[in-house]
Amino acid sequence: MIADPSASGRTAPGRPAARPQRRPRRRAMPGPIVLTALQAAMFAALIIAWYVLVRAKALPVFFFGDPVLVFQQIVSWFVTGEIFVHLATTLIETLLAFLLGVASGIGIGLWLGLSPLTAALFDPYIKALNAMPRVILGPIFIVWFGLGIGSKVALGVTLVFFVVFFNVFQGVREVNPVILANSRMLGANRRQLLTTVYIPSALSWVFSSLHMSVGMAFVGAVVGEYLGSARGVGYLILQAEATFDVNAVFAGIIVLTVFALVLDLAVTLVEKRLIVGKPKS
């Protein structure tokens, strides 16, 4: 029972609208509950299709796994508590990479944004570093920082840094000149201009890229783990792959996806608290 009753009624032509005007005759958008139900149904259909195809041997179980076994794997991870140390490791790596990346991005973004000469000097190098696929730095970081948390954080930082850096750089360069002039007329000295105009203005750009930088930190952590580690969800997947346990690989992917969604939700909540004086557009 999805149909909106008001949408099914016919409009009598030529009769003045006694009732409130109905929406134009397009297919009515279902309500949020119905929509969620449809989405859940789609998910179930997908899993069932997977299950049926694998059981009917239309798909080789060796490559595609079995949804029931995948589910059992996930449950056993949580029941034995084995997963928690890996989740915690990935979470810590993500958070550290995020914080360090944001801090360095803001610092260097402010510096280069406020000093055109330095910015011009560094410009080709920054472009080159940004163009480089930074995942290939992973092996070097493992050599430098070992198999522990350090190498993963380093990889995450290189990813987060550029997102934040470019936003801050842009934010500083494009500070509203009227606000700047106004602050100068109100008696701000150089330091006060920095703390009350440049930094808040740059931060609003950082907030707008919060989702992306957290996502980047997460990618850095997981890829770093996958390249070589002793702990973390990426490590779980790496182990499973090494033993051709495709069910565990799928289980790891699902856990990672849910983890990423939770992280994104957390960012949304933080965002709502942080972005107060939302600038226009």
């Binding site: 009227v178 007329m185 008696g187 701000a188 931060l203 004086g277």
Partner: protein
């Protein structure tokens, strides 16, 4: 209707080009432009402009669009250094930012990440005023511009008129001797504009700042000012005429526009301006045609 019959008692039509306005008798004026020229590369925005604003005087500058009015104001604020000539503030030559002046910008200049109250006290914060005292004064000023109780709102939660009021409070709370205004009400609707103009006049009567007010709206200029200065069309803008506005104060900007004397002044000033407006219009048309 006495239009045209009254002697030109108050209106002093200066012959164009204006003679030496730079040395008024008596105490040094609040603001003095002494043969100021501003060039941007090969483009001369302002050419040999001399004018002054007396202490406590309300002076408007009117000119066709794009004639470099804002440039003049930026020079007076110390945001822009003149290529030639000098700016004197109470007799002292201006170096750097004009610390005696407050500036009300045409565009929104409030910090979007600060509340109304926090915006109002920004200047006090820069001056190192203690937080509690600053906030008390800030709330007083918010009340004075008719915004008490709105201190916690952010700029995007306020209307254009409210934002202008906050900007006005932000400027006046520092108690500047000179207030520079760059078409501050041009973005407002007509009703809000009249309200704001009346409130501005009230504040001006109370605090007697020296005001340099820039506008392209002749009615606004006449109804607010003691003196109206007409600028030539740009480039190479300079003052071409000056009129003393002898309308009685206190004024109501909406009502004063109906008086015969206002109409008479309007016609006199418009006659002086017309040629320049046409020049500016033709120049724009040519620019569009190119």
């Amino acid at each position: 209707m006495t239009f045209g019959l009254q002697p030109e008692a108050g209106a002093v039509r200066m012959p164009a080009p204006v003679g030496d306005l730079s040395a008024p008798a008596g105490p040094p004026p609040a603001l003095l432009f002494d043969h100021v020229s501003v060039r941007f590369g090969a483009y001369t925005a302002v050419n040999d402009a001399s004018l002054h604003v007396g202490d406590g005087e309300f002076v408007s500058i009117v000119g066709p669009t794009g004639c470099g009015k804002s440039t003049l104001l930026n020079v007076a604020a110390g945001l822009l250094e003149p290529s030639e000539g000098d700016i004197c503030v109470y007799g002292r030559s201006l170096e750097g930012i004009n610390a005696d002046a407050g500036y009300l910008f045409q565009a929104d200049a409030l910090m979007p990440w600060r509340t109304a109250l926090s915006n109002v006290i920004t200047g006090l914060e820069y001056a190192g005023t203690e937080r509690k005292a600053a906030e008390r004064l800030g709330n007083e000023w918010l009340a004075r511009v008719g915004l008490s109780g709105h201190g916690e709102r952010f700029p995007h939660e306020m209307s254009g008129g409210m934002r202008k009021r906050v900007a006005l409070a932000q400027t006046l709370i520092r108690d500047p001797k000179i207030v520079l205004m760059d078409e501050p009400f041009s973005a407002l609707d007509v009703q809000t504009r009249v309200l704001m103009e009346n409130e501005l006049l009230q504040l001006w009567t109370t605090y007697r700042k020296s005001v340099l007010f820039i506008t392209h709206d002749l009615e606004e200029a006449i109804s607010l000012s003691d003196r109206v200065i007409i600028l030539s069309a740009g480039p190479s803008t300079h003052p071409i005429a000056e009129f003393r506005i002898d309308l009685p104060r206190p004024r109501d900007v909406a009502e004063i526009r109906m008086t015969p004397r206002f109409v008479e002044l309007y016609h006199q000033i418009w006659d002086a301006m017309k040629e320049e407006v046409l020049k500016a219009y033709e120049r724009n048309q040519r620019k569009l045609a190119d």
